[in-house]
Point group: C2
Chain length 332, copies 2
């Protein structure tokens, strides 16, 4: 990815105090972009001001809920890039509070696109979508042609959010593309619970000398991206016009079972234990079984590949939380 595309450019990040948003902000600041972060700081979501403490003087921060159409209409103006990362990510919360998930993951997306169409038609949007919309894979690895059969409200609404972006690209020429992220992990991830990813809780438990709980029989396969690789993909997709109007899977060639992942995490950590326990009923109902993606499309068309291996990524992440963990499970 060429940093030149972002030098002096104005970039807006929704969910900018969150896990991926804050890592992206740091990279954009380094590339010379003028960065504005939007975050609602809803306690159940990923925003944490500590995530940008080191770059706080070099970014603008607006504590704004993306459901506020008037605020958004103002904030999108004059931007060159809009990284659309704000979302409700918890699958369980999407079932217990489906309307909130709809408001944030579908309705707010539509109103952001309307704001851009009316007030910022030259902005380039990159929408952070999710592999969750595929539902239970009918074949593996899952490519972008796999049918979308979401198994929870979150997957349905994220699919709608994605489709609005593609539609506005096609009908209005508002440049937009979508990345379907798989499990992303790394420094700044939410670790106080499993609302963002189960791996956050695993990491916290490892550091706090608590057992890691592996649901099911531990054989479920997953792929993981270290956050720096996900940020690479967001920047590449933003800078490359060939991405416009398209959807791309992220993914990894390292596919591991949850049991193998737990073993690797504890090996890297040097201690700890895990327990294989049966699924809680509410998780079983929306579990997707094995998943790993075919990311050949973004590799072939945009040249993205993940660079950080799972072991190295886990090492870096453990090191981060060993040092800063208290700012996450007990925010100052």
């Amino acid at each position: 990815m060429s940093a030149a595309a972002f030098s002096g450019a104005k970039a807006l990040i929704t969910g900018g105090l969150g896990f991926i948003g804050s890592n992206l902000a740091r990279r954009l600041v380094g590339a010379g972009a003028k960065v504005t972060l939007i975050d609602s700081l809803i306690p159940e979501y990923g925003g944490n001001p500590f995530n940008v403490q080191d770059i706080r003087d070099r970014v603008s921060v607006s504590i704004t809920d993306v459901r506020d159409p008037h605020a958004m209409a103002h904030l999108v103006q004059g931007q060159d890039y809009l990284f659309n990362l704000a979302g409700q990510t918890s699958h369980l919360d999407s079932m217990s509070n489906p309307m909130t998930d709809l408001e944030i993951n579908a309705a707010a997306q539509l109103s952001i696109l309307e704001a851009c169409r009316q007030h910022s038609p030259k902005v380039k949007l990159v929408f952070a979508s999710t592999r969750q919309l595929y539902g239970r894979p009918r074949y593996l690895p899952v490519d972008e042609k796999h049918p979308a059969s979401p198994v929870d409200v979150n997957g349905i609404n994220k699919l709608a959010g994605e489709q609005y972006h593609l539609l506005y690209n096609d009908v209005y020429g508002l440049r937009a593309c979508c990345l379907r992220l798989t499990n992303t992990y790394g420094p700044a991830m939410r670790v106080k619970d499993a609302r963002q990813t189960f791996l956050g809780v695993w990491l916290r438990n490892a550091i706090q000398d608590k057992p890691i709980l592996v649901y099911g029989d531990g054989s479920q396969l997953r792929d993981f991206n270290y956050v720096d690789d996900a940020v690479d993909a967001l920047l590449i997709a933003a800078a490359d016009a060939r991405a416009d109007g398209k959807v791309f899977n992220l993914g990894s060639t390292e596919v591991v079972s949850l049991k193998a992942l737990a073993e690797l995490l504890l090996a890297v950590h040097g201690k700890g234990r895990f327990e294989v326990v049966s699924f809680p009923a509410e998780r079983k109902a929306i579990d997707i079984g094995d998943y790993y993606s075919d990311f050949g499309k973004i590799r072939g068309e945009l040249g993205w590949t993940p660079k950080v291996g799972l072991r190295e990524g886990l090492e870096r992440t453990l090191r981060y939380y060993a040092e800063h963990g208290a700012r996450y499970w007990d925010p100052a």
Copy 2:
């Protein structure tokens, strides 16, 4: 379809004063059901009290907007069947007012399902979906496995509405199924404009001795269902547990070009003329090209086939509007 399933049963129809809803209500009343109709009577939509004038004493009518969650929570209670027909149907309006389309076609559906889950878990839901969610066909005829690639906001939101129904069936055991209707026509259709179907305006123009406007080059292929056949499908899907959790296309073996349809309509009418004119830009942007469906799944699994041919259906419809037209283009 066995009328026995509905004798003495309680049936709720959203959009009950509309085109398909009113025809369905008449049939259910005839089968001995206790029928409640919900309609918002929003002027741009399909509701028209005249549609149920002949059965007005035999149905309950509630002028309710499906976006009102409290009203819906009350109305769904004690129902055996919920025919979920209320919708924003205009593709153009979905583009000019996308949030309203989202509220009615997606958000209200989710809140109706939540109301049923909490207050009426034994109800059977049939959701009227649309072929619009397929977008521009990648192959013909279009079966249910065809990817959903909506080309307008309406298609995106109807897809979400459909997926909520299937999800609540799968996760909560709330019995629900979806029918993807194609162009439906017949007595009680909206004819004052093209918000429900272009064929309504064609019929009105034919009766009012105005030219019929055929957009494009007139070669676009379409399939049509007479409303009695669509009602058959709704009743069959409601009564048959094998439909639960599934999606079915409706359709017809009579596939015609728009030009051939105009010629047939005028031949049946015995007079009039049509003009082939280029697409208005806002329609061209969301046009889907040729479409006709493969309805082998509902034929094979539930035994539904359309029975009313296009010529006969057009005759019946023309006759209806020749007599009652003034109640539609100039409501009393």
